[in-house]
Subunit: 262 residues, 2 copies
DNA sequence: CGAGTATTTGAGCAATTTCAAAGCGGGTGG
DNA sequence: CCACCCGCTTTGAAATTGCTCAAATACTCG
């Protein structure tokens, strides 16, 4: 199956890239933003995507230019490679994958993004996005126009530092993934993937031991640089070894230490 | 051979991390920085590491806090993983590799950095560097204290945008490398490596067709996620196929298109 | 409920690694 | 200035890992 074809099937209702004066719904909502329950102040992800120590006035200023909750259906993209870069996004609910495509059509999942994670910084350098960001389930994102964020960074040091830490974090995360792809066996890659996901869920207050994968074996394999059959075999092996209990997409980690030592 | 052991042999005179009031030489020089021929204005790498469109006053301000030329001998490190992050570095001459190490001792080359490239942004997120940066030959770097650069970013938009583009560029570069590591055959990896290096040399005004590798086959292999023997075999194969002429570390690209189509 | 996906598992195969040995190269100390 | 030595590189052969192809089974969403 061609992945290019798959895209057009999975994502028939691709969301167009948005210039600051966005059309329809968005623009209407943007004129009257902060509906209650959608304010950053009330957002459970706030500690992840916002800096600490803002004054109420600064907080209000940030809220004034964040569009606080756009819904993205499963399979839809927030942006695609080569779209003009205008905004970054904070995942408010749900999850996403980012996918880069090579000119020959080969593609690779470069990341999975959970609530609280940011998306879109790949567009900062060239002014165009370098990957597709697709929802793995029905999701919500906050939209943060980058030039307004940059303007605020020039005035508020903690906002600047927060942006720099986000970008720096992305750089470090990617080099860890390069190490995984460059040096680990298939078995270690899958173990690392599970542990990493478990950690991130724990940090968000979910159970680190039991969770539901929103992505397919193929997407996991792409992310890990192995084939989907290999992912499946490694999960089966972990099952036999009593490290995890897998039931399709439901995962239960039985032996955390065991996975670490794989 | 243990790479840990190798480090202490190769790099017996490791340069200590520098707090802003740096000791000895650096501090002395820092008090009287811009020796002639070391000013950014006169630097051939200026177009790569500095933004366009600065006023003379702004340029002078940047120059006032950049320490313009520290020499790093082959095998020495500018910083190492876990060193406190204070500054970023612009390679003024020579070349570097960055290396991340896993807790089990496995290590991976995450990048090769030529004159004009930046180094050190991996420390922005956590305040500590996440990799080692080691000179592949006797080299020179400019030292840019990050908190001063951040301060200037708050005042001068083009400086801010330049920093953001540098960080964004790092993110995009790393995702390309993830794609290479995740989807390409050994043959394609080596071809891509040669073409990439060729491009970067061309952009710096050097011959894109003939160059000297400053790194070993082992370092190339680590960067590409393959073994040194495989690198060697692929180079021999390209030689047989008339794509390149290899004589040890001297490379001549004979058929650029051929490499692209590997 | 049924079609189309997604997952699991097996068997054979291909690419890369591992292990081994020989050649080369250039830096250094005599 | 030359010879020697150590590290780097090349090459071969055997071993291994993960891939490909194939088929059966399990899910999930209309």
């Amino acid at each position: 199956m061609s992945d290019v074809a798959a895209y057009s099937v999975i994502s028939p209702t691709r969301i167009p890239p948005h210039a600051p004066p966005a059309p329809g719904q968005l623009s209407a909502a943007a004129r009257a933003p902060q509906k209650d329950g959608q304010r950053c102040t009330a957002c459970s992800m706030r500690s992840i995507c916002m800096p600490q120590g803002l004054t109420p006035a600064e907080l209000q200023r940030i809220e004034s230019f964040i569009y606080p909750s756009r819904t993205i259906k499963q399979g839809e993209t927030i942006y695609r490679a080569n779209d003009s870069f205008q905004s970054i996004y904070a995942v408010r609910a749900g999850s996403f994958k980012t996918v880069v495509m090579h000119r020959d059509g080969r593609e690779q999942v470069t990341g999975f993004h959970l609530a609280g994670d940011s998306l879109g910084l790949d567009g900062v350098c060239s002014g165009r996005h370098s990957c597709d960001a697709m929802a793995l389930e029905d999701s919500k994102v906050c939209i943060i126009p980058f030039h307004l964020l940059e303007a605020m960074c020039r005035e508020v040091k903690v906002v600047q530092q927060h942006l720099h830490r986000m970008m720096g974090g992305e750089i470090v995360r990617e080099s860890s993934q390069m190490m995984l792809l460059g040096t680990m066996s298939a078995e270690q890659r899958v173990a690392t993937f599970l542990l990493n996901l478990s950690d991130r869920l724990r940090m968000r207050g979910y159970s680190p031991a039991e969770f539901h994968l929103r992505m397919t074996r193929e997407e996991i394999g792409s992310y890990l640089g192995i084939k989907l059959e290999t992912v499946s075999r490694m999960l089966s092996k972990f099952q036999r070894d009593g490290l995890v209990d897998t039931r399709g997409k439901d995962i239960r980690i039985l032996d955390h230490e065991g996975l670490v030592n794989v």
